[in-house]
């Protein structure tokens, strides 16, 4: 297999498998937030900024996969 073809396969597999986890995690965070807002709509002003921050931290694992894919494509 060509090194270039191997690089493309590697980057594609890294990004594909690496996006499953963060997507599930962010969905869980959003689901719990929606539940809380549904139960008590008055707290939604306090809840939404914290939810956004929690999602940004869950996103980190997907970003690690992205950094590895970028290093494979551009720097090796």
């Amino acid at each position: 297999m060509d090194p270039l073809v191997a690089k493309m396969f590697a980057a594609a597999i890294v990004m594909g498998v690496g996006s499953i986890g963060p997507a599930l995690a962010e969905g869980m965070v959003a689901a719990k937030a929606m539940e809380a807002i549904g139960r008590n709509p008055a707290v939604s002003d306090k809840l939404v900024p914290n939810m956004i921050v929690a999602m940004a931290i869950c996103e980190t694992c997907g970003i690690f996969a992205l950094v590895i894919a970028l290093i494979i494509l551009f720097a090796i």
Partner: protein
């Protein structure tokens, strides 16, 4: 794939130090901030202008976050300039591509400016800065106790029975693993910021390069997403650095304040027993 290159391009060297396009942009941001902010705050008085009210609301929100992390308000005010500067610099550095013509200035055949946070060296430098500050202050306040947190000989000296010896030895060998976790914190902090902003730039570059028809309208939603991500990531970086500094420093500051007789939020006012 020539959208954005991963490594910065060195424009020239000053002595042994290479000045890359990311460094030039960081200098430019610092210069602009140093000149612009005093001018904007010049009309500050008791009756606030619109800009001043916005800044005050933002300051109060951040001070509340710092007070929760550090314990009392005077410590929060002591650390606030560092953390707020960090947040301001990162927020502006992430959004600089919205200022027109910044990405188009070309010197020779390479771009002259490049967002500093799209350079992994810059984000690692910021994370190492936070690490050095937290451990440096921990050393300055309580040097022996801080080293004792990593090389745990205390248990060894107090051990009496066989099981206690075993546990003390295990603690002695597991102590340096904490150093590894500090390194992991630095890496995760820097990679999170770098990955988010670099991915935004790459996506804009690719969509713009697809065809002449996608250059204006199609790229706009991606740009707006980049704007949102830039602000959120600046806030998350500051929040996590606050947690990192506060978790390292707070036990020693609390002990020192308890000896001096001050009460902080979250402590009982008595010196806690440290094994």
């Amino acid at each position: 794939m020539e959208a954005v290159s991963l490594a910065s391009h060195t424009q020239f060297m000053i002595g042994p130090v290479p000045i890359t396009d990311g460094v030039l942009t960081a200098f430019a941001i610092t210069l602009v901030l140093a000149i612009l902010l005093p001018l904007l705050m010049r009309g500050a008085g008791v009756i606030p202008t619109r800009f001043q009210s916005a800044m005050e609301a933002f300051m109060e929100f951040m001070l509340r976050t710092f007070t929760t992390a550090f314990g009392n308000e005077e410590r929060a005010r002591a650390f606030a300039p560092l953390l707020l500067t960090l947040m301001l610099f990162i927020a502006i550095a992430n959004q600089l591509s919205f200022v027109p013509l910044v990405n188009q200035v070309v010197l020779g055949e390479h771009h002259l400016f490049r967002l500093p946070t799209t350079d992994l060296s810059a984000t690692i430098a910021l994370a190492i800065l936070v690490l050095v500050i937290s451990h440096g202050i921990a050393f300055a306040v309580a040097p022996v106790r801080h080293i004792g947190d990593y090389i745990k000989v205390g248990h060894l000296l107090h051990a009496k029975t066989g099981t206690q010896w075993m546990l003390a030895l295990i603690e002695l060998f597991l102590g340096p693993l904490e150093l590894l976790s500090e390194l992991a914190k630095v890496l995760s902090l820097s990679c999170r910021l770098f990955g988010n902003i670099f991915a935004g730039e790459v996506m804009v570059g690719i969509i713009t390069g697809l065809s002449a028809y996608t250059q204006f309208f199609v790229v706009w939603p991606v740009n707006v997403l980049g704007l949102l991500v830039g602000f959120v990531q600046a806030f998350v970086f500051t929040l996590l650095s606050t947690m990192m500094i506060a978790n390292t420093i707070r036990p020693y500051l609390d002990l020192r304040d308890a000896k001096l007789g001050k009460v902080t939020e979250g402590s009982t006012g008595h010196a806690s027993v440290h094994p």
